[in-house]
Symmetry: D2
Subunit: 132 residues, 4 copies
């Protein structure tokens, strides 16, 4: 559970609000990008989980603590790791940095549950569990 | 084809960008709200078109001309009408106003096509055609 | 601190994702709408706080627990109350319901800090404190 | 005016809607990314235009024609060129492709005007004009 991956995104104009900084809800889109790239890097293709295994991994809990504002056009680094694996749930933790200043902008986590087409919780697929 | 309906939305912080005005892509979400409320008002429930008739009405063309900026917290009025009905396509035209100042902020249109589950164009359902 | 206000929003197509439910980040936009309407209802115009008092109230912490999915076109009720007032920070708690089924879809909170133009924390304005 | 630049984005879950494809308004965010990368590639830093020259380049017209749906997780290529330069306005044209299939998904354009802090149109800065 010590695997870590850093994804990068660039702040768009769309991300900002009239305070001149990134709107708080948009960080959660970055978290989605970060965990998808984390999974891809370690060999789990989330698209296939949905398409072939007919499973999904919705968010059941999301948290973000904002420490310093993210600004237009800067590159954001999101360091992601899996910090908890249970029978059917998974938790990701994220540290969000400004690439340029290396300042920690936010810390966050999301909890997820594997579900089938009927939205019933299922055990995490072994292949995924082994990788993580 | 002279039916008209005005929907209202209030500008959120999420809608704005660091120019202090509404980000241009977000107007297209208002258009979606406006045409859905237009349809609902005249007796067409778009949700049922998808759920029961297994049809969808995706956008095939979208245009907006921005004349004056929309600002945080103001109420926006979107006047909608259907300006073209063909075999399987439909065009909505929109005038977007500031409720307070009555200033015309933008004009827009969207063109749509009725499709089935295989994404093939189908004739507009008679019930819908009659209403519009 | 027992004041409570319920705001309503309707789920748009833009809110949904390919799982057929509302994308998790979009709940946080609803929270913004809910607390702005809460403040407006009790006599605090957030736009004026920014414009006239030159203060802002950014989010420093955001949390949401998702219990059941919100679906396209349904009306969502967000019950909001202030659950903590400190020198310069404020916490809102939210219960998010489906209007139709009255099912509790999510619980959430956000913490905020009053800041001035230099992004320094300032005491909550007395007028706001009294109202809340 | 024959300069061309291709930017790439990956479709997120946030981009999709319950039709299982990318929501139409989200293409306009890609256009923003594409033209910003176009400008950066040819040596124009849009952030500096705002910060140092105190100018902005809002959208006054936006159009998109949707030919085939963009799908979750695929990489989208946006080919951008400047197709018109007038005294104070600029037009970008975009071809939007699926990287994998090379299918043309959409064509689009946006028109922009250079404005100053008072939102008055100004001549395009010479340095920008020469580059484009």
């Amino acid at each position: 559970m010590s695997k870590e991956f850093s994804a990068e995104v660039r702040v768009t104009y769309a991300d900002t609000d009239q305070m001149g900084v990134v709107y708080y809800a948009n960080y959660f889109v970055w978290l989605e990008i970060a965990r998808t790239e984390f999974l891809r890097f370690f060999g789990v293709d989330y698209r296939n989980i949905e398409k072939e295994k007919k499973l999904a991994l919705p968010v059941i809990e999301a948290y973000c603590k904002y420490k310093a504002p993210a600004r237009y056009d800067e590159i954001i680094v999101i360091k992601t790791k899996v910090t908890q694996i249970k029978n059917s749930t998974l938790r990701f933790d994220y540290d969000i940095f400004s690439k340029d200043s290396n300042e920690l902008l936010a810390v966050a986590y999301t909890t997820h549950v594997f579900i089938d087409k009927q939205r019933r919780p299922v055990r995490i697929p072994e292949a995924v569990k082994e990788i993580l």
